[in-house]
Amino acid sequence: MLRTLPRSPFVDAAYKAYVGLFLIYLAVPLVVVAVFAFNDSLFPALPWKGFTLDWFIGTTEPRIGLLHDRNILRGIGNSVLVALATTAVSILVGTTTAFLFERHDFPFKSFAYLMMLAPLVIPGVILGISILAFSSTVANALDDRFGWEVAALRPGLLLVVLGQFSFIATIATLVIAARLRKFDRALEEAAFDLGATPAAAFLTVTLPYLAPAVIGAGLVAFLISFENFNTTLMLVGSDPPLTITMFDRMKQGSTPVLNAVSLFLMVGSGLIGLISVMVQRDRGEGRAG
């Protein structure tokens, strides 16, 4: 079946209906969450009791809005901190690793490539527990040998960053390597012929060409980090990021402030996602993460 080929009207209609149902299935849970952020009720459920903005700006118990909920705000702060750090390290390592695989030959290269892909096929929970176990092995060893208590190696934001970085760096590498592969090396050669040093050629020719992929990878890394749950769950200490804070509330059954936070997340991630698509548009093909 192709658009150039004749189709029976019945098959055509059935196919269109399928596409419609698919889109409804995608949209309904999100629409429900968004709408109930404005319900003037103490529970995120029916009946509809009228429109309110309390779940965003409310200041008095039990109607504490998103803007005045200390734990939620702290969760958002922690998530932003973690996502910025993870993104920075991921694009740095992703860029160098892309160059390693696209520009260099070395022994056991295909094995190294498999190792680079491996974090994608290790369940997130296991990445989490292995980093948890190893960092505490190191921390215990330091404590036993030298009497040093290194708080950074105990569950906390640093471990969360390391856990997320372990697989987000793979995604960043793949995005950046895909663009680097299409780079015409004659441009670099031309820069050399014009007297550029390798560093100057890299900074003025290669890096500007890579920029959309690096920025795109950065935005995707930020989004994945911000919403990561499985790896984060195993590594949190006393400063939980937003997803963990929300998960705990969700289990207990909370007020529609959860809907308000969710709406905030939808708008925020939607914007970042749109920017990442636009930044990478000129590539003609996109890898979404």
Partner: protein, 297 residues
């Protein structure tokens, strides 16, 4: 991939060595310190047998404990079976949509459809699961809707069963299947399909002999990612399935965080890792694909 022959070897040789060192160091630190050594350490911990507080001997007792306890083995088998089913369902549901976007839609409609598929997945999995909870719980939308329509007389709890877990898992996974499928189908030349019709093929035989073989790298890439994400998922089965979900990652969580029994927890982790690696390997062998040809494109 390889260095062009045009680069003279001698004058720039040191420079290339330095460049290799510079780009290899972050990679090696990442893979060794954050991936390989922690997993080796996890394996060593899983081989610790507790003799007394902080005293251990080496042995496989933690693994014996796992295989000797039917509850644990059943949870693993159940999780694997549900993940395989979720992967198959996701593929079947996503394929027509991906085909529509790649081959039938055009222009703006195509972009709009693609964005509509993408958008929900930029939002946290937590929010998406929360949406399903609001719809399906006892006081939720579906229950109220059915009462209003007179189909049921009192509130019904739709949460906490396998069907709901499956709906949530498929929902969570769709994008990771749709995107690789679209990029695989995009590269299929329309004239091959037309040629199939010219040669007397019908929709079924062309799908079987032209479309699916061509899309295989995308199918395998999507299936691996969806299977791995589902098998390692904690959020969706816990919130939608509750205590009855018996998801294997929940057992790992219990051992590590609730019971602080890291030795047994590590063994569980390794059993999960071995199981998932084995299944991915079998999948690659059966379809004649490789990890680098599917995931590392």
């Amino acid at each position: 991939m390889s260095a062009p022959a045009s680069i003279p070897v001698d004058p720039r040789r040191d420079g290339r060595r330095l460049a290799l060192l510079l780009v290899a160091t972050p990679f090696v630190l990442w893979i060794l310190l954050i991936v390989v050594i922690p997993h080796v350490d996890l394996l060593l911990i899983s081989l610790h047998e507790k003799v007394a507080p902080r005293v251990f001997s080496t042995g496989i007792r933690n693994y014996v404990e796992f295989f000797g306890e039917p509850v644990y083995v059943q949870a693993l088998i159940r999780t694997v079976a549900m993940s395989l089913l979720a992967t198959a369902l996701t593929l079947v549901i996503a394929f027509p949509m991906a085909y529509y976007i790649a081959k039938l839609a055009r222009g703006r409609g195509r972009t709009a459809l693609f964005m509509a598929c993408l958008l929900p997945f930029w939002v946290s999995e937590l929010v998406r699961v929360f949406g399903w909870m609001m719809i399906l719980r006892e006081t939720g939308l579906l229950s109220n809707l059915l009462i209003w329509a007179g189909i049921i007389s009192g509130p019904v709890e739709f949460l906490y069963n396998d069907v709901v877990v499956m709906i949530g898992l498929v929902y969570t996974s769709l994008l990771f299947m749709v995107v690789p499928l679209i990029s695989a189908l995009d590269s299929l030349d329309d004239s091959l399909i037309e040629a199939g019709y010219d040669l007397g093929g019908n929709a079924g035989s062309i799908l079987r002999e032209v479309v699916v073989p061509h899309a295989m790298p995308g199918i395998v890439a999507g299936s691996i990612v969806v299977f791995m994400l589902t098998l390692g998922n904690y959020l969706t089965p816990t919130l939608l399935g509750g205590k009855s979900s018996q998801w294997f990652t929940a057992q790992i969580y219990t051992q590590f965080i609730t019971r602080f029994n890291w030795e047994v927890g590590s063994a569980f982790g390794f059993v999960l890792l071995a199981t998932s690696s084995l299944i991915v390997w079998i999948g690659l062998r059966l379809t004649g694909q490789s990890l680098s040809s599917t995931l590392g494109r």
